[in-house]
């Protein structure tokens, strides 16, 4: 009988630290979502393409890179990708739905 405690240092490190790109992707997605919220609350007529296209696209690419980074937590990458995809789907669906309501030229 022998008690042996395995070192969990490496395992601990891998799970705790998020990928930098994933974290960036998540932060970008949060900024884009904030912009979208402001545009919806303030009822802007102009299409905020910076918040609805450019930022989510950058977030999506960074999130995808973060997803393939080894030995790091992918939580923020997954959230970043999910939020950026949501913004794209939201934009696409809103265009379609707004066009179908009262579709007079």
């Amino acid at each position: 009988m022998e008690l042996e405690v395995k070192s969990k240092k490496k395992l601990y490190q891998r799970k705790s630290i998020p990928t930098v790109t994933g974290l960036l992707s998540f932060i970008i997605a949060i900024i884009a979502l904030s912009g979208l919220n402001i545009a919806l609350i303030m009822d802007y007529d102009e299409f905020p393409d910076f918040f609805l296209i450019k930022l989510p696209l950058a977030g999506l690419i960074l999130g995808a890179i973060g997803l393939f980074t080894q030995n790091r937590s992918r939580l923020f990458s997954i959230w970043g990708i999910f939020l950026c995809l949501f913004i794209f789907i939201f934009t696409f669906m809103m265009f379609g739905l707004a066009w179908s309501i009262n579709p007079k030229p």
């Binding site: 008690l3 405690v5 979502l33 919220n37 939020l83 949501f86 939201f90 809103m94 739905l97 309501i101």
Partner: protein, 340 residues
């Protein structure tokens, strides 16, 4: 026996000591570092929780907006509600038309606002008569807010009395004679709009012939069996319903005369509104439209008119006093000469 026990104890103690030694050797992180790691872990967990909560909070408004658009777009609900509103205006407001192209809708959280301008033809020109704002909570409209720009505004609550169009068999209220005097005092170089009631029911074409070509019949009030007593079967007051007699060349108007006559369009609209009578009655500002009684009556008896809105030059409108087909008259709007 005692010696054996003692030996076992020693062996056991050595095992324990050996294991403790092993454990200490395997732990390369000292206590200070362990505390740091735990602190860092707690901090990371807190940051993660805050950021994910923030993301969820920021998703609320977009998700609600998207859901509202889905609610109004799926199955054409918003378009259906807009159709009810515009068609109700055509058949319940005498001599009122609207530009459906200019209708604006605004979708909020599970509510929708629609806004449109209404027009009146006085003489040969259309004048803006006002604006309608209708707010819908889900699919239920509130009473419309109307900003009327007319000298003689439309009644807030529609009834026979407010439009002064009376069925031949209905009691005529006193004091309507002054309206002819009013017409006489208006200058000749003006055009006007008058609401007339007839002495007998007749077909719309017959009425046009009776009145001649110097005036234009804009809208006819149709006999639906309830106009004589002016109430429905439950005793609620009813308002006139009718339809525009002239072809409306506005692109999206249902009375554009392309496929159907205005009479057929009118019947189709009544059938359409019958399915959503509650909504239509709210928009018409009427207590009831009583379409369950009126539509079968019209199908059985056909369309006969008892009143009309007529426009033309004031001198021509004065001549209507001599017309035997006219029982009462009420002056509507008057504008500068535009009769070309």
């Amino acid at each position: 026996m005692k010696e054996n026990n003692h030996e076992d104890k020693e062996i056991y103690q050595s095992y324990i000591n050996h294991s403790i030694q092993d454990f200490e050797n395997s732990q390369t992180i000292n206590v200070k570092n362990q505390r740091f790691i735990i602190k860092k872990g707690k901090y990371m967990a807190l940051i993660t929780t805050i950021m994910i909560s923030l993301a969820i909070l920021l998703l609320i408004i977009p998700v609600m907006t998207l859901s509202s658009y889905l609610y109004y777009a799926i199955g054409g609900k918003a378009n259906h509600l807009i159709d009810i509103a515009t068609k109700t205006v055509y058949v319940t407001e005498p001599n009122i038309s609207l530009e459906e192209m200019e209708l604006e809708e605004h979708i909020k959280f599970f509510s929708m606002d629609i806004q449109f301008d209404i027009f009146k033809r006085i003489g040969k020109e259309d004048y803006k008569a006002g604006e309608y704002f209708i707010n819908y909570a889900f699919d239920k409209p509130a009473f419309p807010e109307r900003e009327i720009l007319l000298d003689r505004p439309l009644p807030k609550i529609s009834s026979m009395e407010s439009y002064r169009m009376f069925h031949p068999d209905a009691v005529k209220p006193p004091g309507l004679e002054v309206e002819w005097d009013l017409l006489k005092k208006l200058p000749d170089g003006t055009v006007g709009e008058v609401y007339i009631s007839l002495t007998k029911l007749m077909k719309a074409g017959e009425l046009e012939k009776q009145l001649g070509k110097n005036v234009e019949v804009r809208w006819v009030a149709v006999d639906t069996g309830l106009e004589k007593k002016q109430t429905d079967k439950d005793g609620y007051p009813v308002a006139p319903i009718g339809y525009p007699l002239q072809i409306d060349h506005t692109t999206w108007s249902p009375f554009n005369g392309r496929d159907q006559t205005n009479e057929d369009v009118f019947m189709d609209i009544l059938e359409f509104l019958r399915k959503d009578e509650e909504n239509a009655a709210k928009i018409a500002s009427a207590k009831t439209l009583a379409l369950e009684e009126r539509v079968p009556y019209l199908k059985k008896n056909g369309i006969h008119v008892y009143g009309a809105v007529v426009t033309g030059p004031i001198p021509e409108l004065r001549k209507l006093q001599e017309n035997e087909a006219i029982r009462t008259m009420k002056v509507g709007e008057v504008k500068l000469w535009n009769w070309k």
